[in-house]
Symmetry: C2
């Protein structure tokens, strides 16, 4: 499949091709591509850039991971395919564990994803041997490790399903979501909802983590000055502004 | 893959599963799933229902097909997977030819799609042996038949790429698009842009075609009272209204 270079949506189409390739390798499920498309639509309406409100959320998110006792970066198929190197670096910088957790769980795909992350330098990736369950979730989606997700106090969940985000919030965790749709259930329940494309979001978080590392005061103030509700409303307002130019 | 029945997005997730299955059968490309996701995001912001402006567009679209000399219903992988029975019925009711035309053309996928449509009762489906090109398009995307797309005066293009929609408009055709994104290039250049989910759109068009068949006056007045610009603006306005409830 070749996309002509002069196609106006060349970059977006190339990201699709990359994910499609990852479906072929078994890391991403076909339905993960549909989720990607949903995200693309919102990214498009945000001008395919990090909005000021999202940047503030990314700063607060980095601060939460730095200050947590047991922070965890959760990785699913789409997150791994789109952004493994940044997620690994962010985890290292913030002392977070990495746990693979997928919606459509098969042992084979768990292994593929963990091997993939470890091939890129991630260490001790959790998830292969779950020994705990997230309360309130049915079936395999509840499976997690006691050492990682179960006992985490702050958790980054990129591209997360609404049920799981809600269940994690109900456990009393600080939940940081990366979800381009600011209206999704995940974005509405998260402690820190980030509406930004995953690679842009993690690149910014890496920058903030470097800046605030060892400066607890800066991290505390990033958290205190942040409001999830105000941030989410600002993002929705920007989308309305974008659409209004077409009316 | 099982989606729990109590999941709040059960229907939408089931549509994804259906498309994913069609990828497995070779009718839909993986990147077609991403397009589906983009559409879903807009459908969600329109309340997953036919907006009044879209219903008007569907009426005008049915009228155009009824009054055309050589109307053509264009079918690609996503359209076939999501809505083959309605597209076939609409073509029969309006005397339209059906031509398969895909973005990522392979002879194998062309055959699969044509066989699939014929297995559902479509007759003389065109596209297997292209003998003409749409001017201004590079590569295989230009291929079409002289009998069908090339000489058509009105053409229905569900889920169409912007380049092709523009090229068809440039040929002087009446182009009816079905594209949930009212801001897309396809929606902006089409003679009659319909922003609605494909199955809802074609079901309505079938109803209108039955109603106006043999009543040229009604068809002419549906076309005359319709304005693409006004319709598109109304759809964008509805989306803004939806988002405003979250601010």
């Amino acid at each position: 499949m070749t996309v002509p270079k002069n196609h106006p949506r060349y970059e977006s189409l190339m990201r699709r091709e990359r994910l499609a390739e990852m479906v072929g390798r078994g890391l991403v499920t076909p339905t993960g591509l549909v989720s990607q498309g949903r995200g693309e639509a919102f990214d498009y309406m945000m001008g395919e850039r990090t909005l000021p409100a999202s940047l503030e959320a990314e700063r607060a998110a980095a601060a939460h991971l730095l200050l947590a006792e047991n922070p965890v970066v959760c990785v699913n198929g789409n997150a791994a395919a789109l952004d493994a190197p940044n997620l690994i670096e962010l985890a290292k910088l913030t002392g977070s564990k990495i746990e693979v957790n997928i919606f459509h769980r098969t042992e084979e795909r768990m292994s593929l994803l963990i091997d993939y992350l470890e091939s890129l330098g991630a260490e001790n990736v959790l998830g292969r041997e779950p020994d705990a369950r997230i309360p309130g979730l049915g079936s395999d989606r509840a499976l997690c490790t006691r050492e990682g997700i179960f006992s985490s106090d702050a958790i980054l969940v990129p591209i997360e399903d609404g049920d799981r985000a809600e269940a994690l919030v109900a456990m009393g965790k600080t939940v940081i979501s990366i979800d381009l749709n600011p209206l999704s259930r995940t974005s509405r329940v998260a402690t820190v909802p980030i509406s930004d494309e995953i690679s842009r979001a993690t690149a910014n978080m890496i920058g903030f983590a470097r800046e605030m590392r060892g400066d607890e005061g800066a991290a505390r103030s990033a958290i205190e000055s942040y409001s999830a509700e105000r941030s989410r409303q600002s993002v929705v307002g920007e989308i309305i502004g974008f659409l209004s130019r077409y009316v």
